[in-house]
Structure formats: C-alpha cells, structure tokens
C-alpha cells in the first residue's frame, strides 16, 4: 500500500492485507509468459482511459526486465472510490491493484497542484507511477524470485539449518537459512537499509532502523518490505538515486542485472561535514573517491585507566593530495587524511557514566582531520595510536568510504558502552562497507579484539610496526607525548644541571621559575624546553577546566549567576556543535547524499553555523576567564610568555649562528 499521509493504524492493517493477498495470489493465478497489468473498468471515459493507459505504460516501461519476466501474472488495475482519503493505492488480496479515484481527474487534467504535500516524486503522474511500481514491487518481493545462485545457497543453508541448527550455521548462511522474500530479507539488503546483523547475533538483525535521517519517504522505515517497495520506486524513477543512495543502487542493479538507462550526473565527490571545527578550514568537505590510497585500522592504544583499557577503534582514510598519483607518497599528505570515528555525542556538561551504559547518548560517525585526532590522543590523553593498513581491494576501499559517507548523513544510533561501542560500530561499518564473508564472520566488542580478528584473517599489514622508528617516521605509529616530554626533560636536566628529578616536578614549577633557566639554553636545549612549555601550558589549562567544572557541577548555587550563565553558554555550545556529527539536520530537502541542489545551500549553512559556534566559544572563553582565580590566570599568562620567549630565543640563536633560513 502507499499512503500520502500515514496514520500508524492504517499502515498496520495494510501490511496484513498484502500478506494475506499474496499467498493466495501466487498459487492461484495461471502462468503467463510475463507480467501483464490490465485496466478493466467499463465506466471510465475515453480521456480517463487514455490517461490511465498512459500511466500504466510509463510504469511498466520503467520496470527491470527481470521483474517483468519473473512476475508472470495478469494483474488487474482499478480506480477505486473506496480507498481511504490518505491512501494512494493498494495491492489487494485477489491480485488487483487499486488506485485512489480521487486523483483520476487531476491526472487527466495534468494538474500537479493537487499533489499531496511533502512528496518527493515531482509530478502527480510520477507519483501515481510510483504507486504502481510500489505495489508491483510487493508482488515481486513476495514471489521468492531468487536468481539461480542465490536459490542454490538458500537451499543448502536451509538444509544445514535443519541438520546443524541456527548456532552451527556457517557465516554465509547467517540470515539466509529461512528466507521468504525475494529481496526484503536478504542480509545484504537489510544492512544497507539500516537493519544490520547484530554483532554476536548470529545473523539476527537489529530491531530498530537507526538510518532514519534524510529518507525520501519515512514510510520505508515501517519494515523491510515497505523499504524495498519504496526504494524500488526511487531506483526506477529517480535518475539521482544512484548518486543519493549509491550502495542500494548497486545492490538493486546487481540483483536485476540491469540499471535504469536514465542516470543523472552526480555532484562531484562524497560530501561530508568536517568535525574538526578549524576556523580557518571549510567545514563542508568533498571526498574524492579516486584519491583514496589506503584505509587503515586506527587504534588508540589502551591506557592504564580502568575502562579505556579497551582502546578506541577508528578508520583512517589515507587520501592523496590533489594531483598526486596513488602511491606510498600519499602517506605524507597528512593534511588530507580523514579519520572516521564513531563517538557518543554528549551535549551535557554533566556527563554520566551510567547514561553511557544505558544508551542515553547518540552514537554518531564523526569525520575528523587526522592531525586533530592524533594530537588529542598523543598530546592530551598521552595515548599512542597504531595505524595499520587494511588489505582491501581498491573497490572495497571505495565502497567502504562511500558507505561511511552514507552513514554520516543518514545514521543516528544509540551508544551503549558494552554492546554498541566504537568497536562494534566500526565492525558493522567494515561489514557493510566491504561485503566480505571473512569480516562478516567477526564478532567482538573491543577495539583490541577487532585488531586481533583482522590480524587473524590476514587483513592487517602489521609488518609496518616491526621497525619502531620507521613506523613513527611513516605515520604507522603515533607515539604518546609522555615519553617525548620525559626525553626532553632528561636532555635539559643533563645540559643545565636542573635540580628537579623528573618531568612532573619540572612542569609543576611556577612558569617564572622555569624561565630563569632559559638564558642558559643553547639551541638544542631551547627546543627541548619549548616542547616542555607547551606541555606545561596544556596541563595548566586542564587544571583550570577541572576547577571550573568542579565548581559548576558540585557547587552549583542559585545565586552564582555568573557561573550558571557560563554553564548555560557551555551547554548551548555543546548543543550547537551537534550538526557536525548529524549534518542531516541542516537540510530540509532531498534525501541520501546531498546533490547539487543542496550543496550550495549546505555551504552557506555550514559557514554560518561555524561562525556562530566560534563566536559562542569565544564568548564562553571570556566568561570563563573572568571566573578563574587570579593565581591561575597569572600562571597561564606567564606560561604564554615563556612560550613566546623561547620562540624568540630560538630565532635569535638561529640568526646569530648564521644557519639556514627558509624563505
């Protein structure tokens, strides 16, 4: 059934009607050589008959040859005055398709004004064609018209299911042993549609469809049968379908061994919103698939702390700079590399671990600049990163990144610390992005577990880590700055005879006490001290944040207006940053990956939002600065002076010694 507005109750009834209808239909009708749809209605006027016939021909012409030959029924078409106002059409139990007569006159007159609001198909004629295709798609889906090789697999899987039970099934049979539909219970279709197999679920799929953003028609989310029917409408009628939903387009094309001849030119590149929030950088990005050199499994190593001992799973897309041929040199094009990272989106200052366990936070796919991710882990959290090339074909790499772009625009999941964390999300993305059996067989909920499984399947090139310094040099390993700081301190201590015993003691000194030593530093030591000053600065900021946060969270008082206001601004800042991980909220039109019509608007919107965010951040900054203690404030300023002073000293020494100066 197809509705223009969709009351929930009616939807339920309609589904049952179709199910009942089809089981009898398929066995009763005599065999024909191919599908025929007949309009049999004596009371229609000539104009009505002609318009209907034209509609029917256009719909049939759009159908894939395979569907026409397989669905060899005679189907009767009638205009019915009895359908509910909101219903556009319905497939009846006796094999008839009914169209709502309320649209007949408008169709004859070519009147598109009467088109129900909120539809994606452009004209009433197209809308009614889509209705016919939708209902025929239900018939086709019900008919178990599997291609020969798939039929063979399903038979063998059903046999194994009987003998081994659901637990003993091999990977290729997961979700395949009890199939009833041509398309709508195919595991591949389901994962592209947003019902992926659960990790550890042995083929059982997720109950909720979290890929609900930027849908052409929310009705598709009702259940997989409706999803198939709605998507066949767009696959067959919308030349942009292949641009907007490339994964599903490829799936349907492969199934039918055929693709619609009219295909639009897609807007160049895969659009994404850069979550890095770099003021100097364009937020709206465009990823050129042809420039993907490799995809790496990027693992933030576990640290000592109780819970992050699991590490964090990400993917790194090694993009080549524009114009550079694909090759190892692209590893050096760091500013073009992107990190795909599933994170919980937290829009509250008072983050709760309990909420992380019970699924309160959304799980979203962030697309971030590599340098930011590396800095965040190595310099702030003192965790090292491994970047291990995945052994995938070029096609698999492209399909994986394309799939990620689709998720970025369509997906808004729920974060569960144990069952739907970064490792689980990354594994699901790898499964649906590469469509490889060996990855489908993997089950794990931890980042290190995923690395082990990928290694076991010989999908990781771990040889890149064998030579540690070479790995650092090539960017296969990013070391935590903790060790660097220690090393720098050891050098300064030795050269300057510092009395402090360890780096912590040095960083704990007042900035002024440290700067007393600067004059004695030669070039090498000054470089070491500069790095340490930056460490001290970061440490100082974190201390201040702790102070402010503690005051806000624990000592919140009604009368502390400044604190409450700043807290409110902070919350606003967090909320406003939501579009970075859920860019779909920026656009009201179109579906799937944004195309030409939306890109222009997107660019303007993202620029505006970026400015706004930045303005807010500056405001919060000013407020926060007013609130910190004089002592902290002085320390920060002194620390900044130290950095400036060391920078100047390095330049001075450099000039004096007459060394190489870059233009």
């Amino acid at each position: 059934m197809r509705l223009d507005i969709r009351p929930a109750l009616e939807r339920g009834v309609a589904v049952i009607a179709i199910v009942l209808g089809l089981t009898s239909l398929l066995w009763v009708l005599p065999a024909h050589s191919a599908l025929t749809v007949k309009l049999e209605q004596a009371e229609l006027s000539n104009e009505q008959r002609q318009a209907s016939q034209k509609l029917l021909e256009a719909a049939l012409k759009a159908l894939p040859p395979r569907l026409v030959s397989q669905l060899d029924h005679e189907i009767l078409l009638r205009w019915s005055p009895k359908l509910a106002h909101s219903v556009m059409g319905r497939a009846r139990y006796d094999g008839q398709i009914l169209l709502n007569q309320r649209w007949l006159d408008a169709l004859v007159q070519g009147d598109d004004q009467t088109l129900p609001a909120g539809r994606q198909h452009a004209t009433l004629q197209r809308e009614l064609q889509a209705t016919l295709i939708h209902e025929l798609a239900h018939f086709y889906d019900r008919g178990q018209f599997w291609p020969a090789d798939e039929r063979g697999l399903l038979r063998s899987c059903a046999r194994q299911h009987k003998s081994l039970g659901p637990v003993g099934l091999p990977v290729e049979c997961r979700g395949q042993s009890q199939r009833r539909f041509t398309l709508s219970d195919n595991p591949r279709l389901l994962e592209l549609a947003g019902w992926p197999a659960r990790i550890g679920g042995r083929g059982e799929v997720e109950r909720h469809n979290d890929q609900y953003l930027r849908t052409p028609d929310a009705y598709e989310l009702s259940n997989p049968r409706e999803f198939v029917a709605v998507n066949l409408e767009y696959f067959l009628l919308d030349p942009e379908y292949r641009c907007r939903r490339p994964g599903l387009h490829d799936y349907f094309s492969e199934h039918f061994g055929w693709a619609p001849s009219v295909a639009a030119d897609c807007a160049p590149g895969l659009p994404y919103v850069n979550g890095g929030l770099d003021v100097d950088k364009q937020v709206l990005g465009q990823l050129d698939e042809g420039r993907i050199y490799q995809v790496h499994y990027l693992l933030a190593e576990p640290e000592g702390a109780l819970v992050s001992r699991w590490g964090h799973s990400m993917l790194r897309v090694v993009m080549c700079a524009p114009g550079r041929p694909l090759g190892p040199e692209c590893l050096m094009d760091l500013e073009h590399h992107l990190v795909l990272s599933f994170r919980a989106f937290v829009d509250d200052l008072q983050i709760s671990s309990w909420d992380g366990l019970t699924g309160v936070y959304p799980s979203r796919l962030f697309m971030l600049p590599l340098s930011q991710v590396v800095d965040e882990y190595t310099k702030v959290e003192f965790r090292s990163l491994q970047s291990l090339p995945l052994k995938l074909t070029t096609e698999q790499q492209i399909s994986l990144v394309r799939r990620a772009a689709e998720m970025h625009w369509n997906y808004d999941g729920t974060y569960y610390f144990v069952s739907n964390n970064c490792a689980v999300e990354t594994l699901k993305l790898l499964r649906s992005g590469t469509d490889r059996l060996d990855i489908r067989g993997m089950e794990t909920v931890t980042p290190t577990g995923l690395r082990a499984l990928l290694r076991h399947a010989d999908l990781l090139d771990e040889s890149v880590l064998q030579d540690h310094s070479e790995a650092l040099r090539q960017g296969y390993y990013f070391d935590s700055y903790r060790e660097r700081y220690q090393l720098m301190f050891d050098i300064a201590r030795e050269r300057l005879n510092l009395p402090q015993q360890n780096v912590e003691a040095w960083l704990a000194l007042a900035p002024e006490e440290r700067s007393d030593w600067f004059e004695r530093a030669d070039y090498r030591v000054a470089a070491a001290l500069l790095l340490l000053e930056q460490a001290a600065f970061r440490r100082q900021i974190i201390l201040i944040q702790h102070e402010l946060k503690d005051r806000y969270v624990s000592g919140r008082r009604m009368d502390d207006v400044a604190l409450n206001e700043t807290g409110e601004l902070m919350s606003q800042l967090l909320r406003e940053s939501g579009f970075l991980s859920r860019p779909a909220e920026l656009l009201k039109t179109g579906y799937g990956l944004p195309q030409k019509q939306e890109r222009q608007q997107l660019k303007q919107l993202t620029d505006e939002r970026q400015q706004k965010l930045h303005g807010l951040a500056v405001l919060v900054d000013e407020r926060a600065l007013e609130m910190i203690s004089t002592e902290h404030r002085r320390a920060v300023e002194a620390n900044q002076r130290n950095i400036t002073e060391l920078g100047a000293r390095l330049r001075h020494l450099h000039r004096e010694s007459g060394r190489l100066v870059l233009p």
Binding site: L334, S469, Q545, K549
Partner: protein, 106 residues
C-alpha cells in the same frame, strides 16, 4: 595580556567529554580538541612563505622533538615537511637537522 582564541571554551567542552567520557565511554567530543591545536599556535611565526604553510607549521612539535633529541625522535609530520620543503626547493643542499632547525626558527 589576553589569552588568545578559544582555548578554554573548547577545552571545557573537551573536558566534559574527555575526562570522564573518553576514559569511560571511550570517546571525545569533537569540539574539545581545538584545545590542543590552539596551544600549538601560540608561538608566533614570522611572515615567511613556509611560515604560513600548514605542512610546515604542523611539523613544529616534531621539529622541536627532533632537534631536542638530537635526531632520535623523528615524527611523520617532520618527515612530511622535509619532503615538502625539498620538493619546493629542489636545489637546496641541507641536512635533515638543518631543515628541522630552520622550521623551528620560522
């Protein structure tokens, strides 16, 4: 002296997600990370061609580590910057150390 840029705000956002979340939920809020980059940008660089180049600027921490450790620590950002400079100035005769020092003095 005024503290430049969005250090605190960004850091605060980061903090809310980082201190508890990243250790527990295994994640960090995107906005939070501006903190680190801002801290880097504090040492002003002179107005030279390479001094405004991102590849070179991103290599300053690596260059400091390289110089400070007398060549022991050699990160990928430095590697990328060395390649970039040599590509731009093919006639340049300079050792890695000389170039690292020059980057640091920009």
């Amino acid at each position: 002296m005024k503290i430049r840029s969005v250090i605190l705000a960004a850091g605060l956002v980061g903090f809310s997600a980082m201190a508890s979340a990243s250790s527990f939920i295994g994640t960090t809020n995107a906005v939070g990370n501006v903190l680190v980059n801002m801290a880097e940008a504090l040492g002003d660089s002179t107005a030279s061609t390479f001094g405004s180049n991102k590849v070179v600027l991103d290599a300053r921490d690596d260059a400091a580590s390289f110089v400070g450790s007398d060549g022991q620590v050699r990160g990928v950002n430095l590697e990328a910057a060395l390649g970039h400079i040599r590509h731009q100035m093919p006639e340049l005769q300079a050792t890695d150390m000389q170039l690292a020092e020059a980057i640091l003095a920009l």
